[in-house]
Structure formats: C-alpha cells, structure tokens
Amino acid sequence: MTASKPATRSKNMAGPLLRGGEIAVAACEAIQEDNPEKQVVIEDHRTYVRVEAEGGLIIRRKTMEEILGRPFRMQELEVNLTGFSGQIETDENYMRWYLKLDL
C-alpha cells in the first residue's frame, strides 16, 4: 500500500477505513480496479488506512474473488472495515460508499 496525499481535498470524499489484514490489502487493490475513472486517495494511519475518492467508491465481490483466488462473501469485508466516510450501501455483490449531495 502506498500513501499519497493530495494538496486539497474536496468536500465530497467518501470511502472505507480499513484496518490491516489480508482482506484489507486485497480490498485496496480491488478498489483501484473497480473505480478506474477515479483518483483513489490512500492515506496510511498505522491502525487504519483511509481510502477515499471524490463522490465515493465501490468494491465488487467478483474482483475480490479474483484477487484472493477463492470464493468471497461481501460480508467478510466487515472484519477489516473499521469505519467509512460518507454513507454505505451493502449488497451481496458489492459494497458502495457514497454521498447524496454534491457540495
């Protein structure tokens, strides 16, 4: 995981906060893959990694399965999901963090 910090952040950043672990590493990779049009910002704070992008992010079960090389239930992400910015939507095939309002 590499840490990067933009000079300014918009008011519309949303995404997961992950604590370390196998699933978190895979999730960071999957998020990059599942949001090709977004500039994903990853900030490492030791016990948690803040992953965000303008308008939010999505992570797909299929991508996690490819990366982990095994069946994956979306709920497993919860083990490493210590929080998130924005709002959350959960589905068995994806998890999504978003904001309704564009400020």
């Binding site: 016990t47 919860e78 083990v79 929080g83 910015s85 924005g86």
Partner: protein
C-alpha cells in the same frame, strides 16, 4: 444445495410487523418507550438499514473477529509487554477500561430496548445484532484487563468503576443514562447510534488505537479496532431513523436529539481521548494531536455526513470548535491536580519538549495553559509538592458533572452560567449545558453533583478522607499519583541550571 442470495429473501424475512388483536398498538409499543413522535406504523416500515447482514453471515464474521482478537492476546501475553510498559500509557489503559468496559454493557441494554420497542422492523433487526455486538465488547474489555489485576489493582476499575460513585464515573453515568438508558427507541437511535457511535466512538476506538500501536501494544489496538468494526455496522441504524423523521415533518425533533447527545458525549470524549492523546502518550509515539484527529473525523467526516442525511450542524458549532482548543487542556490540569481522586496515575508530562509540541499544535498554549503549569513546575522545583494539591472545591457543572473551567492566562475566561429553577440555583460550564437543562428541567433537576453531596449530608462527614472513600478511592484501589513521579520536571531543572 445452493443458498438464495440475501437480497432475494431479506425484505420478506424482515417484515415482522403484525396487527395486534388482544392488546392495543399503544400497549404493544408505549410511546414513551417506542415513538413519542406519533408516526404511523407504516412510516416506520419504510426503515431500510443501509448496512445489511444475515444471521448466518453475522455468526461467521463475528467468530472470525473474536478468534483473531483472543488469539493475538494469547500470542502476545507471553511477551510481558505490560511489565515494562510506560506508566503514562498504563494510565491511558486504566482510564479506558474504567470508563468503557461496562458502558458497553449499558449499550447492550439500550440495543435490547431498541430491538423490542422500535416500530421499525429494520431497526429491531439491526439492534438485535447490535445487542450481541455490545455483549462481545463487554466481554472483551472485562477479560483483557483481568490479567493485569495481579500487577496493578487500579485495573480493577474496569469492572468496579460503574459500581462506584467516583466523580468521573458520575459524569459518565449521568451522560450515558441520559442518552441511552432513559430514552425511547427512536431517540436512542439518534442519540446513541448516530451522535455517539457514528460521530464520536472513532476517536477512542480508532484514533487512540493508532497511538497504542505505536506504543507496541498490539493486543489493545487490535482488540479495539475489532470492536469498531462492529460499531461501523450497528451505528448505521441511526441514519434511516433520522431520514424518516425528516420526511414526516419532524426534523426539529431529530436535530434537537442530535444536539443534546453530541455535546454530552463530546464533553466526555475530550477527557477520555483528548487527554491521553496529548499528554499521556510519550512524545515520540504521538501520531496526531487530538485536535488534528477531531478535524479529520468529526469536523470533516461527521459534519459532512450530517449534511448528507439532511441535518444541520448543532447550533453551538462555534462553541464546540472553541471547546476543542480548551476543554481537554483544562481537564488535564484539573485531573492532575486532583490526582488522588482518580483511579489512574495521570502524568503531568509537560517537560520542555512536550510544551514545545503543545505550543506547535495549539498556538498560544504556553501563554495560557503553560502559565498554570509554570506555577506547578515552580513548586515542584522548590520542593513544595504539597502546594501542587489544591485546597479548594471546584464548581461542578450541573449537566456534564465536570468541573467548570476555561482557558487561563492573561485573559481568564472561566465563568459559570447560572439558572434558578424551583428555588434552586444551578451552575453550568457553558451555554450548551445550560441549554440542555432548559429543554427538560424535570429530567435533570434532582441529580446531586459530587459537591452537592458534600453539602447535603450524603457524604458525612464531608471531610477529604470520607469523600475519597465515598468515591471508591482506597476501597477498590489506591488513588492516583503523578504517573512519572515528577521526573518530567527534570528537563526544567536542567534548563534553569543553564
């Protein structure tokens, strides 16, 4: 056999409302416990929890979380980490366990009440998982400090604090009773799930975890971030509640519940998280200042979430921003000065290097809080330890139960906000605590602060030794002393010699 996807059966399985036939709806869901806002049943049936989980998934995931937390503890307990741990850091742990362990159990009861009394099937469902989560948090945080009892009796406060009348406990209990033990299901979902869990638990369970990881205490940081992964899920039951209230013309009511709870919990967390972060963690291990952390998690993240679900920032936002600069610095001074009354050993820890850091993070610190510590440091350098113990009784806020205090220095800002109600004078630390009281005086008026109890005959005789016994000091464990036995003064001694 292939399992159905969760989304194919979830809505049907969750539709658990029914039409009562041999009791009235009001008997089944008394408004005081359920919904005092009077929304129809159908309005609550629209409740759609954003973070969904099935029972099968829940058990699998929680089992994994628990086995991880306990196995990390087991693996690391051989390392004897705590035998040589920093005293300031151990104080952080004692404060944490005393304040948090059984509060988790209160949260368990609050979740239990939401799972029984909410008219929203989705809330009942989420709160049922929440109740089991909070039971897990209680168990973890009673079990983990238990092994430390043998080396230090002050860890017994993990279990005992809630059963004492220590002044710090009274403050915590007054707040928690207010926001999660004595409210209806809907208000609890705003006060506990949204204001407290979504807004502020991150400070302690994630922010402080970064510092404890830097201290090498992986057992603790791993355990509390594991807990926070439960919070991230069950805290979400507040959002749909608020959205439904707004949609049904009850925005003002939702806003008021948020405003009350957010302030109350903030006043506690500034002490619980703010002081350890900026004073107890050794300088070299500090990650961010408390203020920086507040900016990342609350001022940016939580405030953004607030506007997204249709609420406003609390009316006292400017006072809150000012409190971030002051409240925990005041209370560090107060708690350190009254250290014999607490169950941990608060380090003064304001040597020259620490002061430089504080000045950098909180410009103006030296000229305000620094002056308070100048006097203390001077007394210690002169060998007058006895002069560092105050001989007066503080004024306690009739709402937050915390000593009234504010920024010292050239412009002394401390003042008390008073209200006369039914022939009694009430003192408040801020206009916000006073405003909360005014919203519902009958709820709060009979509670006696620790100082009231000295004058009303509850603590008899009202002498220092008796007060300490009343607060559990010398009963559960010894009270506090300076965490570093004043060694932080050495730097100043060297400076004075140069």
């Amino acid at each position: 056999m292939a399992l159905l996807d969760r989304s194919e059966w979830y809505d049907v399985a969750r539709a658990t409302n029914w039409t009562p036939r041999y009791v009235t709806e009001t008997d089944l869901f008394p408004p005081d416990l359920s919904d005092p806002f009077g929304l129809p049943m159908t309005a609550w049936e629209a409740f759609d929890e954003p973070y969904k989980v099935s029972y099968r998934e829940y058990v699998k995931v929680q089992r994994e979380k628990d086995s991880n937390a306990y196995s990390v503890k087991a693996a690391l307990s051989r390392s004897k980490y705590y035998d040589s741990a920093d005293e300031g850091y151990l104080s952080l742990l004692k404060l944490h366990y005393g304040a948090v362990s059984l509060t988790e159990y209160q949260a368990c009861q609050a979740q239990g009440r939401m799972s029984r009394f909410s008219k929203a099937p989705g809330m009942r469902n989420t709160a049922t998982f929440g109740m089991m989560d909070e039971m897990r948090h209680t168990q973890l945080q009673l079990f983990f400090p238990h092994e430390l009892l043998a080396r230090d009796r002050q860890f017994d406060w993990a279990h005992e604090a809630a059963h004492t009348k220590n002044w710090a406990v009274l403050g915590g209990r007054h707040t928690m009773d207010d926001i999660m033990m004595t409210r209806d299901a809907i208000t609890t979902s705003i006060m506990l799930s949204f204001a407290f869990e979504t807004g502020l638990t991150n400070l302690q369970m994630v922010g402080l975890a970064s510092d404890s990881e830097a201290m090498g205490d992986f057992t603790f940081s791993n355990m509390i971030t594991s807990i926070q992964s439960d919070e991230a899920r069950h805290a979400q039951l507040g959002t749909p509640s608020i959205e439904i209230l707004i949609k049904n013309g009850k925005k003002a009511e939702a806003q008021k519940a948020l405003d009350i709870s957010f302030w109350r919990v903030w006043r506690l967390f500034a002490i619980l998280t703010g002081i350890p972060m900026d004073y107890y963690i050794p300088l070299k291990n500090r990650h961010m200042s408390f203020k920086e952390f507040m900016h990342e998690w609350v001022i940016k993240q939580f405030a953004r979430q607030l506007s997204d679900i249709g609420l406003e920032k609390p009316w006292y936002w400017d006072l809150f921003l000012d409190d971030i600069e002051n409240h925990h610095h005041c209370q560090q001074g107060g708690i350190w000065s009254w250290r014999p009354t607490v169950w941990w050993n608060p380090p003064g820890a304001v040597g020259p290097k620490e002061r430089a850091w504080l000045e950098q993070k909180y410009p103006g610190w030296n000229d305000s809080y620094g002056r308070y510590w100048d006097v203390i440091t001077g007394n210690l350098l002169d060998g007058h330890e006895e002069k560092t113990h105050p001989n007066c009784i503080p004024v306690i806020c009739n709402m937050c139960q915390i000593p009234v205090s504010n920024r010292p220095g050239p412009k002394w800002k401390a003042r008390v906000y008073q209200l006369d109600y039914q022939g009694k004078r009430f003192n408040f630390c801020t206009p916000v605590c006073k405003w909360i009281f005014e919203q519902e005086p009958e709820r709060y008026k009979d509670f006696e602060t620790i100082v009231d109890r000295m004058f009303s005959g509850v603590i008899d005789p009202p002498t220092l030794p008796q007060v300490l016994i009343y607060m559990g000091i010398g009963v559960v464990s010894n009270g506090g002393r300076d965490g570093y036995d004043y060694s932080w003064v050495d730097g100043h001694r060297k400076q004075a010699a140069e």
